[in-house]
Symmetry: C2
Subunit: 275 residues, 2 copies
């Protein structure tokens, strides 16, 4: 369980509230990044900023990335370990309605949270396939936008169970991701991760794993993954910036091998985070 934010900044000033006319609230019209910080530093910050920049471009939001970077770094520097969440919305509306003019002034909302207390999951987690499917829309695929109702409702499926995460499939039956993680499967001696051209969030830790595995000579395929493939995989692991690579020990009640490639990826991530 996580704690309330220690610090909240709205456009750089300490504040706990936001204008009710902000398009982030009105229409889910914005983006966010969740950044793991340790030793007073925001880990993989350039990858977060790169995704944010691309996502802003996709949504036609004009944001001041230099100020965002400084704000994240300053928040991170104030604690040994923390989670910094940065929301960027299109800003307050200029007139009621979905239309935007392009001259809106984006809103930054930055939070610093204490690192959550949690059990050690390196031995593996229990996972179930979700009933909730993800809608497919190429225009929104990959980006970490504020419209997250699919994930919110999916998480409710976990209630009362022993699983900590769900695997989600798209409306056309492709494997996509977890509710708050990306997924890799091992086929032979290669890593395979779903292509996120129709839905899903392209996570920063997913990109780290693809880059580091590639550099270490491990084959990585990013492609369409059919539902059945996950049940034929020799190893399955989940990634996000807080948890790194989490091996899946049990999937839909079936035990899985926490195998050598997952362990190797965990080592590569640890090395990359130190660098």
């Amino acid at each position: 369980v996580s704690s309330p934010p220690e610090i909240t900044l709205v456009n750089g000033a300490a504040a706990d509230t936001l204008s009710t006319t902000d398009r982030g609230l009105q229409y889910g019209d914005g983006l966010f990044e969740t950044i793991a910080c340790s030793g007073g530093r925001a880990r993989f910050l350039s990858l977060h900023l790169d995704r944010l920049a691309r996502s802003c471009e996709r949504l036609q939001i004009t944001a001041d990335l230099a100020t965002i970077q400084t704000e994240i770094e300053t928040l991170a520097s104030g604690a040994d370990r923390s989670i910094v969440k940065m929301i960027v919305t299109r800003g307050p509306w200029q007139a009621r309605g979905y239309s935007f003019t392009g001259s809106e002034v984006a809103t930054r909302i930055a939070f610093r949270f204490p690192w959550p207390a949690e059990g050690d999951t390196s031995a593996g987690v229990r996972v179930r396939t979700a009933q909730m499917r993800l809608g497919e829309n190429a225009a929104l695929a990959g980006i970490k936008h504020l419209s997250r109702l699919e994930q919110v409702l999916a998480r409710a499926e976990l209630r009362g169970g022993s699983e900590s995460e769900l695997l989600m499939f798209s409306s056309s039956g492709r494997l996509v991701s977890g509710t708050m993680s990306n997924v890799f499967i091992v086929r032979g001696d290669r890593l395979v991760t779903p292509r996120l051209d129709l839905c899903g969030v392209a996570g920063v830790m997913r990109r780290v794993v693809m880059r580091e595995a590639g550099s270490a000579g491990i084959g990585v395929e990013e492609r369409v993954v059919e539902a059945r493939e996950i049940f034929e995989a020799s190893e399955v692991f989940l990634t996000n910036v807080r948890l790194g690579a989490q091996p899946v020990a049990v999937l839909d009640g079936r035990k899985l091998n926490v195998g050598p490639l997952t362990r190797r990826v965990q080592e590569l991530i640890a090395k990359a985070a130190d660098g």
Copy 2:
């Protein structure tokens, strides 16, 4: 162009700001209703409340509908003509993350806007088909939730053109709706409107038209509508609570007949709104 809100109430108290930890902002985790008010009365209020109640149930949000009704009625009574917008979110988060406990306390954010100045569109509007497709998700279909990025991005396609609305299709190619309206087509002597089981918002004016047309002996079909059917229709009109039934005079540059069934529906709506 619409004006800023004359009144904003957050949980019943005058306020222009909302907690930054509200799940409406964080995750698009909430709903809204936009209500046309005239003569100091909220038109079709029971239909709005009915949709809100069903939508809250779908999203597992517990809201105080009696208080919401009173608040809408009070706001409406303070002006001759106005637009009241009521947002209901799941409330402030209890802990960071998509998961909700079910014991959150919903937030109400109510706005009253002056009725927007606008040209007379009863002679028909120009409409284009949108490039942006709507993702399909049965769990979210029909409800007016806060995750509206698809509509926001679609509206940007209208920039620089002479059209006032776009027709949107789903990822699998079905006709769904406008960006801020529902759509009816006339085939023979019957009205046809897309079934909204996979995406789209089931508008209050759509329901009024279906009810009133049915009562007046006009056949109404709610079914899957393939893209080609819209080009074979003898009449096409759009509905929302502010504009009633708006005939489509030009679709993708092709002139359409503003025909007798659309005129008949406009009369039926006017009578129902008076009642």
